[in-house]
């Protein structure tokens, strides 16, 4: 009868939509993984071929970027911009950058520095917003008469790879009030959290996803990457 046919048709259409959604998701995952692998393979190839030239190119880039950062810091400290003081600034920045160029950028692939810096600059406002939210929550906890805190120590296994991403995540966790990173024990973060709400916020892993997105590590399916991918795929499909 018509009603059962209609219901059958609706069920079929739902099934088809579900399957096509799964196929689209598979396609997006494969696309992300393929680009990550291609980038890895290229990096390994370049490192294996031109170790000598690559090393000196990395050193020169580190020297230039350190020199620029030092010049900006000098201009910030000294408010005088006449020729004498600026030339002193150039000499001092040159000396410091020459003797310490391998300090700030330890293990960085050539060509990624600008992207990482831009993503880091975009991450800071979100971190400030989280700090403000946590401030309100901890102030409410401290000022209420029965102080509903529940201090606990959590162990978070993390999927990050390099030193500087560990440090960025640990510092972000310590800066938001309510959580303190106690130790990093070979991929495990040992964190002390003040109350249940703060611990749950940490366990969802959003901060870790964002830090992995800055340093382009750990195959993750971050929202911004999916949006970029979908644009590429829509162009290909047309």
């Amino acid at each position: 009868m018509e009603v059962t046919l209609l219901m059958q048709a609706i069920e079929d259409s739902f099934r088809i939509v579900e399957e096509s959604r799964k196929d689209a998701e598979e396609l997006l995952k494969t696309g992300c993984r393929v680009t990550a692998e291609v980038r890895n393979v290229e990096g390994e190839k370049i490192k294996a071929f031109l170790t000598g030239a690559h090393q000196s190119k990395v050193r020169f880039q580190n020297f230039v970027v350190t020199f620029l950062i030092m010049m900006a810091f000098w201009a910030l400290l000294s408010g005088k911009f006449d020729t004498f003081h600026l030339s002193l600034g150039v000499i001092c920045s040159g000396i410091v950058a020459y003797f310490g160029h391998s300090l700030i950028f330890h293990n960085v692939r050539v060509g990624d520095t600008r992207l990482i810096t831009w993503r880091f600059i975009k991450y800071i406002p979100w971190l400030l917003y989280q700090i403000v939210l946590s401030n309100f929550h901890v102030a409410y906890l401290a000022l209420s008469p029965k102080m509903p805190i529940n201090p606990s120590i959590i162990q978070l296994p993390s999927k990050l790879e390099s030193d500087i991403s560990y440090v960025t995540l640990a510092n972000s966790i310590t800066l938001t009030p309510g959580t303190i990173t106690m130790d990093i024990d070979e991929d495990n973060f040992i964190v002390h959290a003040l109350s249940d709400k703060v611990a749950d916020d940490l366990k969802t892993g959003e901060m870790e996803d964002r830090v992995a997105h800055i340093y382009m590590e750990a195959d993750h399916l971050y929202v911004q990457d999916v949006l970029d991918m979908s644009q590429i795929f829509s162009n290909i499909a047309r």
């Binding site: 350190t66 810091f73 000098w74 000294s78 001092c92 410091v96 030193d163 440090v167 510092n171 990093i184």
Partner: protein
């Protein structure tokens, strides 16, 4: 002996901070005439940056940046700059450390020559103070025995 720290946070943050501390120390030395600072203060902050590296990485890794021999050399060079400028003023027919005589060899007028002379003397003082501070830290932290190359040869 100060051993290497195993904590990845302390190592990375010290590594990033050391160039900023060194640039701040050079700023304090150069701007002694305008804001609080000068030679001695800048020298101590410069030494503090190297001591931070020594604390977090141990002597073995910091040896290539600042070793015992380099520290001895720097302390002598600092005093040489200070006394050298003084004797230069003496040779140019003035009093000891009378910077206005420097106007004879530099193409500036007397007041500017005094300012440049003081800047040079502050640099010398900063270098000497940095070297002596690091030397004191190395002596106290290692109990007088620094594993230099000579000691390794003597053991063998």
């Amino acid at each position: 002996m100060v051993f290497r720290s195993e904590d990845v946070i302390v190592k990375t943050i010290s590594r990033i901070l050391v160039p900023f501390i060194q640039l701040y120390a050079l700023y304090v030395i150069m701007h002694g005439h305008y804001s609080p600072g000068g030679g001695f203060q800048g020298g101590v902050i410069l030494a503090a940056s190297f001591i931070l590296m020594l604390l977090t990485y141990g002597y073995g890794e910091t040896k290539e940046r600042i070793s015992e021999k380099l520290v001895n050399l720097f302390s002598s060079i600092g005093v040489l700059i200070y006394a050298g400028i003084g004797f230069l003023c003496l040779l140019l027919l003035g009093n000891f450390l009378d910077y206005s005589q420097l106007a004879r060899i530099l193409p500036v007028e007397a007041a500017r020559a005094r300012s440049l002379g003081i800047l040079g003397v502050e640099l010398g003082v900063g270098l000497a103070v940095m070297a002596v501070m690091i030397s004191i830290f190395l002596d106290i932290s290692s109990g007088g025995v620094v594993p230099d190359d000579r000691d390794v040869d003597e053991d063998e």
